[in-house]
Amino acid sequence: MKKETHIHAAERFLSNKKNAEWHDETLWQTRTKRDRQAALIPEWEQLRELASKIKMHTITHLDRYLEQFATAAEKNGATVHWAKDAAEHNAIVLQILQQHEASKLVKSKSMLTEECNLNPFLFEKGIDVVESDLGERILQLMDIPPSHIVMPAIHIQREDVGKLFEEKLQTEKGNADPTYLTRAMRQCLREKFLASTVAMTGANFGIAETGDVVVCTNEANADMGTSSAKVHIVSMGIEKVIPSHDALSVFVRLLARSATGQPSTSYTSHYQKPQKGGELHIILVDNGRSDNLADKDHIQTLKCIRCGACMNTCPVYRRSGGYSYSYFIPGPIGINLGMLKDPKNYYTNLSACTLCFSCNSVCPVQVDLGNQIYKWRQGLNAIGKANRTKKVMSDGMRMMFQQSGVYHAAVKAAPLMNLMPRALIYCKANKWGIGREVPQFAKQSFTSWWKKEVQKR
């Protein structure tokens, strides 16, 4: 099946004007909150610089730090698993569940499990997966994927959540009060927490020197899950490892401020040892990451701490929504990660960028997201995916601009364009003219003026 391009999906998103406006403003508010928090930290820019250097250092010495992390974690009593791809990751999870004869898994939010398509895999094997993050749970009940990596249900309005809960949780008709709805969900989830034997979380950081896993959340759902269940499975990308607690102190100052404009997440939980009589499993997942290490143009994406700040600031993301991108991670980081995963499959997302570079400037670890999008565009022709119109236009421009004579003739003829009938100018082929008037060419170009007024003097 041919996927819808970002261009068309964005058009569709914008056709619901009120919703699009609301989406833009909501995400912009998050960007504004982030700005306010950043402004309160005098050393904010130094922190970004430091965070970038620590990440770059760690990912370029990943073999060493991963080994150190795994050794320390095992010494703490955790079991470390290595998964080279999504299939291995999912098989390991299933195996752990089967060992404990568990038919249910309570999960906190994890983009890595989205990447691995874990939930559909487990459903097929008869496991009931319960998402415990409020946003993720809403989406699970709606049977739709996240549209943002930090605020997964940011595109859903409270009235829609009210209607959903009426049907699924038998809440009062017409009540869309967020506190009421959250309480209803908490009641419902509590039973699931208490009944589960296995809980799963993602990982924001893995500390090499001590082997602990750090999970940052606002709802304590991860903690509820891991406290009620005897078995805790951590799903962690290999790039999440950092050297030390000193390094962590840099990242925790940046993460929540960049992500949601909070000084810190409500909970920053450190998991070091299994519960008494329980088990702690850490699955370290590669799934293509080690290949990215060898790609000098795009290695920087491995620094990403998944804060979502680049999405909140991206003027295109805010006006096209998370579903307009064909990769499961949207926005500037998603465009890049999609290209790293499978360029031929995800290249159409590359149009969703004006090269405004705002993403570069908000990124807490200084990933050069905009520059990388520019670089990916350069490679499209080589894989046979260049846009034909743009290619023809670029060729035409090169021919015209390379020969001054041709260019000058074109410049002289340009004002004739102004005389063209409106119906010819504003045709379907001229996408400029759909929402804009075309510029009028001047009667006399600067070059003609120069020749007449300056050179002849």
């Binding site: 970002h6 261009i7 964005a10 914008l14 699009a20 402004a39 930290i41 005098p42 904010w44 820019e45 003027p315 295109v316 006006r319 096209s320 590359l350 149009s351 960028c353 004006t354 090269l355 405004c356 570079f357 705002s358 570069n360 400037s361 908000v362 520019y374 565009r377 350069q378 022709n381 260049a386 846009n387 743009k390 236009m393 670029s394 060729d395 421009m397 090169r398 015209m400 601009f401 390379q402 001054s404 260019y407 996408k431 400029w432 759909i434 929402g435 804009r436 008037e437 510029p439 009028q440 060419f441 001047a442 006399q444 170009s445 600067f446 070059t447 003026w449 120069w450 300056v454 050179q455």
Partner: protein, 251 residues
């Protein structure tokens, strides 16, 4: 004034054909300040449109041509932040990627406001412009040429464009909400993603107009051209003017 030498005027292709008055204003302003200005008439385009669209290699001959034409000048100055930024930031690595010699242009090319502010260090300008203007902080002007402090960065606030405008009598300067959010032009983005592009332009115009300004002004005629196209289509009561046209008023 701390400046000596001859400058080559870089008038980007669309300024040449659509906004020649911006080129003329640049020339008049610079010569008024006693600067020796030349214009190599064989210049065409810096190569940005095709490179941003993904065809860097097609810009290589244009980069060579650019270097040949402007090699003899002490400074190259142009009234378009985006084109200047492309020459400064991208010409060197494009040449390098195509196994060519190092590019000398990067160190001596300036956007005209930057040149007046940092090199010429203009301290006074005669003439008045008794109007309300809203400054359009263009992406490449802000985030590549550093004409003002990007809103994302926690750094001391400054604006070279506002500094220059403050020299002019009568002008009231405003800035829109979301002070340096992109207007949605983006070169071929404007036609490829036209729905998002036009929406961004409409939003930007609404913010500019909310300041009560009569004019939107900026260092990039390309952004202005895009917003002007929308304003004309929507019949919005707002005008557009390049910063140099304000600076040259009454001279």
């Amino acid at each position: 004034m701390g400046y000596r030498g001859k400058i080559g005027l870089f008038i980007p292709c669309y300024v040449n054909t659509v906004f020649p008055e911006v080129g003329i204003a640049t020339y008049k302003l610079l010569t008024h300040l006693g600067i020796d200005v030349d214009y190599p008439v064989d210049q065409t385009c810096c190569g940005q449109p095709m490179a941003n669209a993904g065809f860097e290699e097609k810009s290589v001959p244009l980069i060579h041509k650019f270097n040949e034409l402007f090699d003899k000048y002490d400074y190259v100055v142009g009234p378009s932040a985006s084109c200047v930024a492309f020459v400064k930031e991208n010409h060197p690595h494009i040449l390098e990627a195509h196994g060519q010699h190092a590019c000398q242009m990067s160190g001596k090319i300036y956007e005209v406001c930057e040149f007046l502010h940092d090199i010429v260090k203009v301290e006074a300008l005669p003439g008045a412009f008794p109007h309300k203007v809203s400054v359009h902080n263009s992406c490449h002007g802000v985030r590549e040429l550093h004409l003002s402090s990007p809103s994302e960065l926690h750094r001391p606030r400054y604006s070279k464009i506002k500094d220059l405008l403050s020299l002019k009598e009568g002008v009231e300067v405003f800035e829109p909400q979301r002070v340096d959010e992109c207007c949605g032009f983006g070169g071929m983005f404007a036609v490829e993603e036209d729905a998002v592009s036009v929406q961004m332009g409409k939003d930007k115009l609404r913010n500019h107009m909310a300041t009560g300004a009569e004019f939107v002004t900026g260092a990039d005629s390309s952004c202005l051209m895009h917003m002007q196209g929308i304003a004309r289509r929507e019949n919005l009561p707002i005008q557009f003017i390049h910063v140099v046209e304000i600076l040259v008023a009454g001279l």
